[in-house]
Symmetry: C2
Subunit: 306 residues, 2 copies
């Protein structure tokens, strides 16, 4: 089964790992949000792509929820000594991705080529594609004014109240090479249980990607980020409340209505009224959980193929 | 006493520290070679300036002879995992200087301003000036062809046989702001016991600096890098042999003949015939050694003031 996953960071990476370990290692393409990308200290940081790289190579710091296991912090500590900005915590090992990526981008290489090399170096079989080579930048309008995504997410720890979200550059951005083909030739397309508003919407805001989702003959299955009436991690439920959206599967189905054929939901939550759904245990703590959710999502997708 | 030191890295940094701890903390200006500066992984690395910053802030790894004490290597190890270049060993803490400097240079700030901020952040009283804001790059002509300085020095560990050395950009380079004034208004100018061919010559190749040395009324004292008929550290003696120059104080005096009024030499070596000299113990292992050499150099300079 050729599977495509549209994904953000942590939650999506778990699902992609589940697919990879469910026998799809050589046939999964992860199309990754780059709306969180930003320049910090002159370096190009791609948080969602790197989260996938760490998760799929077994290097994630699982307890911390981001970054590398066994990370050291000499760089950040020296930056602090020198009075430099320390609000975004760059680990020493993590810096290698940012420095090598920045240097190669400056030489005119593509993010796609760079990410492919990183994945190959770490023995990752899944194909990881940035959604676009063009800059798309997520801005969050809040009660503290408009904030660049990382200033909201890391700098302010999602504390400000969100009233709107926009993706600067998305209208002009083209899908990265391979993205549209992957969607059109897929047997199944999955929308990972990432934050719909912050992590998946930037992908959907790229016109090529939206058009390919409308055009593809593959079933499109979203894995709901809602578990037990709230979100597993991150600000999804908080943002839904701030945007006056009920944190339930009807809202998720409604959000993805233009594209999604079915929703995989947690057994503790009500299924959506509008589209087919399959209910199971969707919390992904262990590797077995991830494989289970991936298999359930694959089964749901297969059930939609005539 | 307002003192100016023209200096390269390790040996020069020891002498500057000696001057600083001899009561000249607020009146020493170190004018530092930037011919070794280069771009690595997209970062601007200034080896000699950083050696001074580490030495004067007590952060040097004395046993290793370069870099920071207590350094960690997670970055380099991750670069190796990713197949990136690892011949130049960038430590995790050390990276902070390179990343912050590169970002500020890219924003149009001057190296002088950046170095002044670093020195202030680390409580260094000595004024550290790069010799120039303009790029000067040392190239070494060898039996393996022409090598960029760091490729020769670090990449090939000074193994190739040197036939010539050139300083690309030196003819067009202007002295950095403050450099000429410091030399003209000094009470004494010292040439540190750095490698004359690789570390001091780039400074002398900047026309403004050479002119200021000719013009200044201050006595100019060089501290000989020769101790016991060889060089203390680094490739000085090896290069002298390859260039058919005897490793003695006559050769050092001859090399600096256009500028230098007197030479501080080690008691184990013959004094030069051509210029006044003072002999003492010049090996700088302990802080007391460094203070001793600084005081002897100051005494020699004072003896030349009419």
């Amino acid at each position: 089964m050729k599977a495509v996953v549209l994904t953000g960071g942590v939650g999506g990476a778990k699902f992609v790992l589940g697919l990879e370990r469910s026998g799809l290692a050589d046939t999964v393409t992860a199309i990754v949000n780059t709306g969180d990308d930003f320049r910090h200290l002159g370096l190009h940081v791609s948080p969602d792509i790197d989260t996938l790289l760490y998760a799929l190579s077994g290097k994630s710091n699982v307890a911390q929820g981001w970054g590398r296991e066994g990370e050291t912090w000499s760089f950040l500590s020296a930056v602090q000594e020198l009075g430099g900005p320390d609000w975004f915590r760059l680990g020493d090992g993590d810096l290698a991705l940012h420095v090598l990526r920045s240097e190669r981008l400056a030489r005119g290489e593509t993010l796609s080529a760079i990410v492919a090399d990183f994945a190959a170096a770490w023995g990752i079989p899944t194909r990881i594609l940035p959604m676009s080579e063009d800059p798309v930048r997520t801005f969050v309008d809040t009660d503290e004014g408009e904030l660049e995504f990382q200033r909201y997410f890391v700098g302010r720890q999602c504390a400000p109240k969100v009233s709107a979200i926009r993706f600067e550059g998305a209208q002009a951005a083209r899908a990265a090479p391979g993205v549209v083909d992957a969607i059109l030739s897929a047997d199944a397309v999955f929308i990972a249980p990432s934050n719909p508003y912050l992590s998946v919407d930037p992908l959907l805001a790229v016109a090529d990607i939206a058009a390919a989702l409308e055009q593809t003959r593959a079933p499109i299955v979203a894995i709901s980020p809602i578990v037990g009436g709230t979100a597993v991690k991150g600000p999804t439920a908080k943002i839904m409340a701030e945007l006056d959206i009920a944190p339930d599967n009807d809202a998720i189905a409604d959000h993805y209505a233009a594209f999604v054929d079915a929703l995989l939901v947690d057994a503790s939550d009500a299924a959506p009224a509008a589209i087919p759904a399959r209910a199971t245990h969707t919390l992904m703590k262990t590797l077995d959980d991830k494989i289970h959710v991936a298999r359930e999502a694959m089964a749901l997708a297969k059930s939609l193929i005539p």
